[in-house]
Symmetry: C2
Subunit: 310 residues, 2 copies
């Protein structure tokens, strides 16, 4: 199966209690594609960068099986860049600077040869552009996963709601779920959000794991307890990318398989936060994923058989 | 097997966003004993109340298999009482009033016939009194579980550390684990705290579940996602009581069985928060526990087989 990933490719300058970086590779589509590349061979990336974007990054993406032929390179323009600072709890961050640059006029063009993609990852981007991508697909993909954030809820709530009607899975964090629904209880929030369009809702809770809702069902994937979260940037995008990458690779969108996909998303996110930016994802080996899957199994599996549990 | 439970029996006056109560039954030993009573027939309670303590409460405890013959009733004195107010997120609370009353001079006397108890629950109480209880046991119990709180870390840290040396399992919440260890990372906090004495550490994270640490192993029990948390009072005591009650009933303190005990603790805590005070625990039926255990299984169990997971 093939995956179309649309979102941002960016420069991030990061500061955490453990150090700071100059401009390094970032962006929602970057993280999502890299995560998905652990599962599938064909990932079509649609995004935009400026002429300041290093060829080495493009090569690295290609080496991970990510097709960059629809990554638009705007000559005379600059790549979208963001800088932010994390505090000790790593759950809050301050945006220090945002330069939209090439993103301001980004027109996500979907090449003809990508029209057969059955899995569509709408990584964080303006909901208006996310909707444009869906409208440009001549055949509706088998599964559309959309990630978004509070920024769009503040800036263009109506656009966001229009786009929500068209997607199968929405991925947001707990605070965003509360903001979008106006409900404090995540169970109530999930029921309201699923009435807005998505059949499935993933609520990411950072170090507290993630929930998957579908109709009256709920599944919980823990986060691995880590000694240190070095840099949480991109963890949510990585989570979503691992989730859809696993689904695309197995081509099974049953709830049972979505549970497995959620665990894989959580596994990949647990790697992402161990180093700055994409560094850990870029150098991730298959055996490491397998080893950490075993840690997740040990973390939550228990053998209560109900007939003789008491 | 038999369980000795020592802690407070109290009056609580509660205010939550959903309503308020007059003085109702509360106390760490009350919640822990009621929770444990779902698993074992013989619970020996050691605590103290004043002459204002209603006979009906004592009868109710007895009807749940809790032996109250060592519940001291101090004539001319008043029962320990606490009042508090919860805010919308239910994770923080303000203490409005605390009247120690009979607790001030409480001397936990362990009757001879309780000396054979193999399981000791030291529910939240002054660490000095908790240590006195351990010293008064002629034979060290098979398992000592201790619950404590930030109040004792502030007021008598040295007493607390002395007592920690003598227990097998410590149960605290995430903020308390951080305070006790001086480490923000719960993984690091756990390693430090286990060096202080306990072989096992339970870190309760409220709506985010609970972690069980032992040497290099870690197990996670989720909290059930609830539409509403009506009143969180006693949830931690209930958790600890369900945990030790299950262990005492099965008389198996292997790590595998502790995992099951942690799930049972989480199940009972999920009931506790549904109504004010002990109301839900008092009226809990075995079939309800079984039904919720199934919900916990559905919530976290997944079938990834590592050989063919990718």
């Amino acid at each position: 199966m093939s995956l179309l990933a649309v979102g941002t490719v960016a420069f991030d300058a990061l500061e955490t209690p453990f150090g700071k970086t100059d401009k390094i590779l970032g962006g929602s589509a970057t993280y999502s594609s890299l995560a998905a590349s652990n599962y599938i061979d064909r990932i079509e990336l649609v995004s935009v960068v400026g002429e300041d974007f290093p060829e080495a990054y493009i090569q690295m993406l290609q080496e991970h099986g990510i097709n960059t032929s629809a990554l638009q390179i705007k000559h005379g323009e600059k790549t979208f860049s963001w800088s932010g600072k994390y505090h000790h709890d790593m759950n809050t961050r301050d945006t220090l600077d945002t330069q939209l640059n090439v993103l301001e006029k980004f027109d996500p063009i979907i090449p003809d040869q990508y029209q057969d993609c059955n899995y569509l990852m709408l990584a964080n981007l303006s909901p208006k552009l996310q909707r444009k991508v869906i409208q440009r697909m001549r055949k509706k993909p088998k599964l559309i996963v959309m990630d978004t954030m509070n920024f769009w809820m503040d800036m263009m709530p109506d656009e966001l709601k229009e786009t929500l009607k068209l997607v199968n899975v929405l991925s947001v964090n707990d605070e965003e779920a509360r903001q979008l629904s106006g409900e404090y209880s995540l169970v109530k929030a999930a029921q309201k959000i699923m009435k807005m369009g998505p059949d499935y809702l993933v609520i990411k809770k950072g170090e507290h794991g993630a929930l998957l809702f579908h109709e009256s069902e709920v599944f919980f994937a823990p986060a691995l307890p880590l000694e240190e979260v070095f840099d949480p940037t991109g963890a949510g995008d990585t989570f979503a990318g691992g989730f859809i990458g696993y689904l695309a690779a197995t081509d099974d969108i049953s709830f049972g398989n979505m549970k497995r996909a959620l665990i894989h998303g959580s596994v990949l996110a647990s790697f992402c936060v161990e180093k700055f930016g994409t560094e850990r994802l870029v150098n991730l080996r298959q055996e490491e994923i397998e080893g950490r899957l075993q840690q997740f199994i040990d973390l939550v599996q228990f053998d209560i058989v109900l007939e003789d549990s008491l």
